[in-house]
């Protein structure tokens, strides 16, 4: 078990998240992709804290904060999706292109 495996996994997870972020048509799935990216970050933080900073484990503290903020962000994000849904009766991302050129 080495650091770089964790990093590679995290990077792969991040890329999957980005792919989902830019390709999903459902707004909720976009939020879910954002969660995937945040979790990839958390994985990075945990791996670094485990291999490079086993004494002070500052990365784990960061991870706790990231999880907290991610929960709050997901709540606000879902609230926004709901607000849009109330107005436009859809959560299709391709219908939200009113603010163009």
């Amino acid at each position: 078990m080495q650091l770089q495996y964790f990093l590679l996994i995290a990077a792969a997870l991040f890329c999957v998240g980005i792919y989902g972020l830019v390709t999903s048509r459902n707004a909720v799935r976009v939020l879910m992709s954002i969660e995937l990216m945040l979790n990839a970050v958390n994985l990075n933080l945990m791996a670094f804290s485990n291999y490079l900073d086993p004494q002070q484990i500052k990365g784990q503290i960061f991870t706790v904060f990231v999880i907290t903020i991610a929960a709050a962000e997901a709540a606000v994000g879902l609230a926004i999706v709901l607000a849009i849904y109330r107005n436009r009766d859809t959560v299709d991302m391709e219908q939200f292109n009113l603010l163009k050129w």
Partner: protein, 632 residues
């Protein structure tokens, strides 16, 4: 300089200028009720003042050495522009001539312009001319002479274009301005180029400099050619002669002035520049050539004209050509004598012609005739003008022609041939006009033609007196050659050429057996002369064509290439803005993709310097190795 009239000689141009300015009071837009006549009287009064001043100043300067008054004008950065005023017998005498002819022309205009409301404009321009010409003869500097010549060019434009509701007047004034302007511009080149070579524009200093000057012959030839180009346009010499023909669209009194005096302004500058021109034999030869071509061409064309005023204007070109010949053969005194005799005689002929035109309406000489019994004053003014102009002893023209011919008899006899030819042609031409006007049957236009009234008759009679007295005056002033000096061969040749010209013309035009209008066996030649060698076509197909073409090309270039280049810039910016806005697609996911790409790009760019140090091994031995390699 004790004499007060000499001290105040600088006032002379001011009189006429004052008259010209005050005339503006009688413009129809300003004085609306009482008519413009006082402007004419005022200007004549000013001419009279000029004439009297100069006439009384003349005895005071007679026999005295020339004096100079310096009027500072501008002194800037090493260039000292002081107006030198030369007071000599010659300059004061020239003022007497100019003011005298002006006074007579203005008196004539009282009669001629009787039915015209434009007196104020007309007389103020005559006043401006008089001021300009007197200033020209007084000022002794090439630079200020140029100055005045330009003002006179503008005044010519305005004076020719006085009746501007006629289309031919407008084109004539345009041509008069542009043609003279071209000559003047060349003159300016010469004037500017002369300063570094000679270091002065003062005519006296130029003459002194020219005596000992060592200059590059090419340079002085070019400068000399530029210097004769100005008088070439002014004196209506070939090929810049068309303007004088078209300037005959103006009123007759102005033509008197122009033909007798204004064209002589160019000759005056040439006279003053003669020492400089003499530095280059090429320039002298060119001057003689231009003069010879103009003299022969002008006198031939004059014979073939049917317009009364144009038969006279081409003779002016011819006689100014003789002046050019005199300058080109380095006889400035002869040139001046010719200008004097020509101006009196020419003014007389034009006055006579104008008097006929005034109440016979038509200017077509083929429609007039038989006026002699009813028009004695006009007829005599024509006859005496003829006598004074051509080489007919004892009148003035003979002595001038004799002087020029004698000067070249030994060295360049072929010039004498040209003078004889021109003299014969001129005699033929004027006699032809005289015969057509005054002899034979009265045609329809001339059947009831009374003599003119006193305002026009008076100046003609006075001018006849001057012309007739000219030989006596010349003799009194010792300007005539003594009998011993006269080359009888030349004198006889001149007399014979005159008699031949007059006699031939009289035979052709008073003989009823020869069909009128006379047709030459070769129609092409007659048309060629009648249409002035087709000079308008020549201008239009050469200079005017080229300039018009070039201006169209430059206009096109400006409009499409220069403007287009700049507009292209703006249009490109507009288009890029219009098209690049589609990058704002409204899809937030697209924005996220852009952000990701941006971050990726920036991170690659930022890590480029480090990438070479990173050793990528998929299976490093321990974790520190990556850290170490990055730090390195």
């Amino acid at each position: 300089m004790a004499h007060p009239l000499l001290q105040s000689i600088w006032l002379i141009p001011c009189y006429a200028l004052l008259g010209a300015i005050l005339s503006a009071l009688w413009f129809p837009g300003i004085t609306r009720r009482t008519g413009p006549r006082p402007s004419g009287y005022l200007n004549a009064l000013m001419s009279m003042a000029t004439f009297l001043h100069a006439a009384f100043a003349l005895p005071a300067i007679w026999g005295q050495p020339p004096q100079e008054i310096l009027i500072p004008w501008l002194d800037v950065a090493g260039l000292n522009l002081t107006i030198p005023i030369e007071i000599s017998t010659l300059s004061v005498g020239a003022i007497v001539l100019v003011a005298g002819i002006n006074l007579l022309a203005q008196t004539y205009a009282f009669g001629y312009m009787e039915m015209d409301w434009g007196w104020a404009r007309f007389f103020s321009l005559l006043g401006l001319f008089e001021a300009g010409m007197t200033a020209l003869v007084l000022c002794n500097s090439l630079f200020f002479s140029y100055f005045i010549l330009e003002i006179l060019t503008l005044a010519t434009y305005l004076l020719v274009g006085i009746w501007f509701n006629q289309s031919l007047v407008v084109t004539g004034a345009r041509d008069a301005f542009l043609t003279k302007r071209i000559g003047d511009l060349f003159l300016l080149m010469g004037v500017v180029a002369l300063l570094p070579i000679a270091g002065t524009w003062n005519f006296n200093e130029l003459a002194e400099w020219a005596q000992t000057a060592q200059v590059d012959p090419k340079v002085i030839t070019l400068v000399g050619l530029a210097l004769i180009a100005g008088p070439m346009g002014k004196c209506a010499q070939f090929p810049l002669h068309l303007w004088l023909d078209e300037a005959m669209e103006g009123p007759v009194p102005a033509s008197i002035l122009r033909n007798s005096v204004v064209v002589a302004t160019g000759a005056w500058v040439m006279y003053k520049l003669e020492p400089v021109l003499a530095l280059s034999p090429t320039v002298l030869a060119t001057t003689v050539f231009i003069g010879a071509v103009s003299a022969i061409g002008g006198s031939l064309i004059a014979i073939a004209q049917i317009d009364l005023k144009r038969t006279q204007s081409y003779l002016v070109t011819a006689y100014m050509g003789l002046v050019f010949i005199a300058i080109g053969t380095q006889q400035p005194e002869a040139a001046l004598l010719l200008v004097l005799t020509h101006s009196l005689a020419s003014a007389l002929i034009i006055m006579g012609g104008g008097a006929v035109v005034w109440n016979s309406i038509t200017q077509d000489v083929t429609q007039l005739g038989g006026l002699w019994s009813r028009r004695p004053v006009s007829g005599f003014s024509f006859l005496i003008g003829l006598a004074g102009l051509v080489a007919l002893p004892p009148f003035g023209g003979f002595w001038a022609a004799l002087k020029i011919a004698q000067g070249v008899w030994e060295t360049q006899p072929w010039i004498v041939g040209i003078i004889l030819l021109v003299n014969a042609f001129a005699a033929f031409g004027i006699t032809r006009v005289f015969c057509l006007l005054f002899m034979g049957e009265a045609k329809q236009m001339a059947q009831r033609s009374p003599e003119v009234h006193y305002w026009m008759a008076l100046p003609m009679i006075v001018m006849m007196g001057f012309t007739l007295h000219l030989p006596l005056i010349l003799e009194a002033l010792d300007l005539l050659p003594s009998w011993a000096d006269i080359n009888t061969d030349v004198a006889l040749l001149l007399i014979w050429s005159t008699i031949t010209g007059i006699a031939l013309s009289a035979i052709v035009y008073t003989n009823n057996n020869i069909a009128k209008p006379v047709v030459l066996p070769w129609k092409g030649l007659q048309d060629l002369l009648a249409y002035d060698f087709y000079t308008p076509n020549l201008y239009r197909s050469s200079i005017v064509f080229v300039v018009a073409l070039v201006s169209q090309i430059t206009s096109w270039f400006d409009k499409y290439l220069v403007d287009g280049g700049l507009n292209l810039f703006g249009v490109l910016t507009l288009f890029s803005g219009r098209n690049l806005r589609y990058s704002t697609s409204g899809q937030s996911q697209f924005y996220m993709l852009t952000i990701v790409f941006g971050i990726a790009l920036i991170s690659v760019l930022l890590s480029l310097p480090f990438l070479s140090h990173v050793t990528v091994s998929l299976f490093p031995q321990n974790t520190t190795e990556i850290v170490m390699s990055v730090q390195r």
